[in-house]
């Protein structure tokens, strides 16, 4: 059994991390949403907020309690940091000879991710596997130089379905510390030696068995309250539905806005963009998030391979829920529900997966 401590106020941890020189990134309020960003002050941590999430709907509101972690995931996942929306790969400069190329070198400060939910822990691990296979040392460095303080969910949003993807609501591994909020305070579970050393000097008391039981009960409540569930055999059944007319019906509602791929914590596709200045002396290559919903994504000479919206939606969903297993040994979906919440047309991935695989 892991070591567990009791903590009254999560700001105590934050203050300690900040004082020790860590860059701390935690979900904070920004433009009406909770997004992971750099925290300068422990008081930046929002408190007493609830999220209301539904297909095409996200609102933050004052909660009835003063709890810290009742609001679950917002639009921005941790990939924003680990797999940034754009990065320069190299610069090229013309010279008498032709040109020279200078690769980009980036600094990653020692970082703590504070408040990572179980679904997002799974997402971090799944993206890490993608970039491990692609031999990207930058991604590996960012992950290895980041300590993770997870938060076990004591509440689910209506769009959550991590129970059906077996990725939550409890963080099982992949964290250094995990917090569970109970009415008696925070239960702090130690996941690694690095996590234990993050607690040094705080003088936390051991958590009582009663507190542990309360924490388990809250997580169980969050799990029991989930109403959405992906079909168990979706990975096998979805490719069999490749020619279903349902794809066309989804495409009629889909705006091809690429929101789902931007908010999905595992979507990893990028474009390579070459830029040059007007003098034609300097060129740069950038890597930038891309989306399989754009026609240009599959462009070859003669036009896009996936010219219809139906083909593009099928690509996204089939890759996510099925092809990912063949490519990386897991599903590409961690049940966070972001694609449902942030779809402006309210397309529900879970409902569509059911319809496509159950012949609805």
């Amino acid at each position: 059994m892991r070591e567990c401590y009791a903590l009254d106020d999560p700001r105590l941890l934050l203050e300690n991390f900040l004082a020790a020189g860590w860059r701390v990134i935690a979900p904070v309020l920004s433009e009406g949403a909770l997004v992971p960003d750099v925290v300068q002050d422990a008081d930046d941590l929002p408190r007493g907020i609830l999220d209301s999430q539904a297909p095409g709907h996200y609102r933050l509101e004052e909660g009835a309690t003063r709890r810290w972690f009742d609001a679950v995931v917002g639009p921005r996942g941790w990939k924003h940091w680990l797999h940034p929306p754009e990065r320069r790969l190299w610069r090229a400069l013309r010279n008498e000879d032709g040109f020279e190329i200078r690769p980009e070198v980036e600094d990653w400060p020692p970082t703590i991710f504070f408040g990572v939910r179980a679904c997002d822990l799974a997402a971090i691990a799944r993206q890490a596997e993608v970039f491990r296979r692609a031999a990207d040392p930058a991604h590996a460095t960012r992950v290895s130089a980041t300590r993770i303080v997870a938060v076990n969910c004591g509440r689910s949003a209506r769009t959550c379905f991590c129970v059906s993807t077996a990725t939550g609501p409890r963080a099982e591994d992949g964290f250094d510390l995990a917090l569970t909020e109970t009415d008696e305070g925070m239960l702090v579970e130690v996941g690694t030696d690095a996590g234990a050393s993050l607690l040094e000097g705080l003088g936390l008391r051991r958590a009582s068995d009663h507190m542990r039981a309360r924490a388990r009960a809250r997580i169980a409540e969050a799990a029991a309250s989930q109403t959405r569930a992906l079909p168990k055999d979706v990975a096998k059944r979805l490719p069999e539905a490749a020619e279903s007319p349902r794809w066309e019906a989804i495409a009629k509602r889909c705006l091809h806005c690429t929101n789902c791929t931007a908010v999905c914590p595992t979507c990893f596709c990028t474009d390579i963009v070459d830029r040059t200045d007007l003098s034609d002396q300097r060129a740069e290559r950038w890597e930038r998030w891309d989306s399989c919903f754009t026609p240009g994504f599959s462009e070859v000479h003669g036009g896009p391979v996936r010219s219809s919206g139906a083909a593009r939606y099928r690509q996204w969903m089939t890759h996510k829920l099925s092809g990912w297993h063949q490519q990386f040994g897991t599903s590409g979906c961690t049940g966070c529900g972001r694609c449902i919440t942030w779809c402006p047309a309210g397309i529900d991935l879970v409902a569509e997966a059911r319809a496509l695989t159950e012949g609805d």
């Binding site: 004082a19 020790a20 020189g21 860590w22 790969l89 090229a92 000879d97 032709g98 040109f99 020279e100 190329i101 690769p103 980009e104 070198v105 600094d107 990653w108 400060p109 020692p110 993608v130 970039f131 296979r133 692609a134 031999a135 990207d136 040392p137 930058a138 991604h139 460095t141 960012r142 290895s144 130089a145 490749a242 990893f268 596709c269 990028t270 474009d271 390579i272 070459d274 040059t276 034609d280 060129a283 290559r285 890597e287 891309d290 399989c292 994504f297 599959s298 462009e299 070859v300 000479h301 391979v305 996936r306 010219s307 219809s308 139906a310 690509q315 890759h319 092809g323 990912w324 490519q327």
Partner: protein
């Protein structure tokens, strides 16, 4: 406050081009240019037939181009490029001495070695001869290892035939049974007329189809019809290979652009065994 030292994050080495210069350039047919390249920064890793490089034109961009050189000759880095877009246009304009960027080689090769003892059938349509040329050269370097080597080349018209001098040489090569066919003849053409699929039965008339291994490259529709025709003739689906073309950006299986079902064409292909992809190729827009 404790001073904490940042870690250094470096880009994948496979995403960093090395520099190369155009050593020779040859125009034709039409808007096709064949560049012979010489690396400036060290030597390239040896390539295998069917692999490709990513070629970068300064400030314009980068595209995947198959390697057409002789795999037995490390200095033979040949790329055949059709001028169809901004990057290919810039590459086709390069003259001897000009510099370009190059990454590679990438991708799965034609399994030439593994076909020892079999009748090796190679079918090329149009520019599809470019990625097959190294496989042909590799087979011709050890012809005794195959029961026979058969090459069927098709093009739209006689002037569209790629590597005409090479084809003339191969016509006189005793180890190679060559047939060349065009969709439309022009005055002076005394060869065969018709799409490549119409030549397959004749090309294989001395072979037991069960003993034939086929390497097929050309437009997707041509490869599909070709492989289906070969299946009908009794060539086993697991003894046929095609080379797929998809949008490639990173060539390392991380940008996602070239996905074809669960395969990354850049990493799991471009050469695929026919039975792995046949069902997928029937569905539009996979």
């Amino acid at each position: 406050m404790v001073a904490r030292v940042p870690e250094t994050a470096r880009i994948p080495s496979a995403l960093l081009p090395m520099r190369a210069r155009v050593a020779h350039r040859r125009q034709g047919p039409d808007d096709v240019a064949t560049l012979s390249l010489c690396p400036v920064d060290g030597r390239l890793a040896p390539f295998r037939p069917g692999q490709f490089n990513m070629l970068y034109a300064f400030g314009v961009g980068e595209i995947a181009i198959s390697i057409s050189g002789d795999p037995g000759n490390a200095d033979s880095l040949l790329h055949t490029i059709r001028d169809v877009g901004a990057v290919s246009h810039a590459l086709c304009q390069l003259q001897p001495g000009d510099m370009l960027g190059l990454r590679g080689p990438f991708g799965k090769p034609w399994p030439v070695d593994a076909q020892a003892g079999r009748d090796l059938l190679i079918v090329a349509g149009g520019l599809g001869l470019a990625p097959l040329r190294p496989a042909i050269l590799q087979a011709l370097a050890m012809p005794e290892r195959f029961r026979s080597i058969i090459l069927v080349v098709g093009a739209r018209s006689p002037t569209d035939l790629l590597y005409p001098e090479q084809l003339r040489d191969w016509a006189g090569e005793p180890a190679l049974a060559l047939s060349v066919t065009v969709d439309r003849a022009t005055p002076g053409w005394s060869g065969m007329v018709g799409v490549v699929t119409t030549r397959l039965a004749r090309a294989l008339d001395r072979c037991d189809p069960a003993n034939v291994s086929a390497l097929v490259c050309g437009p997707e529709v041509m490869m599909r019809h070709c492989c289906l025709a070969l299946e009908d003739m009794g060539v086993p689906p697991d003894a046929q290979w095609i080379s797929m073309e998809r949008n490639m950006k990173c060539a390392t299986g991380s940008c996602g652009h070239c996905q074809f079902g669960a395969d990354f064409v850049c990493r799991d292909g471009p050469v695929f065994r026919w039975d792995r992809v046949a069902a997928r190729l029937r569905i539009r827009g996979i």
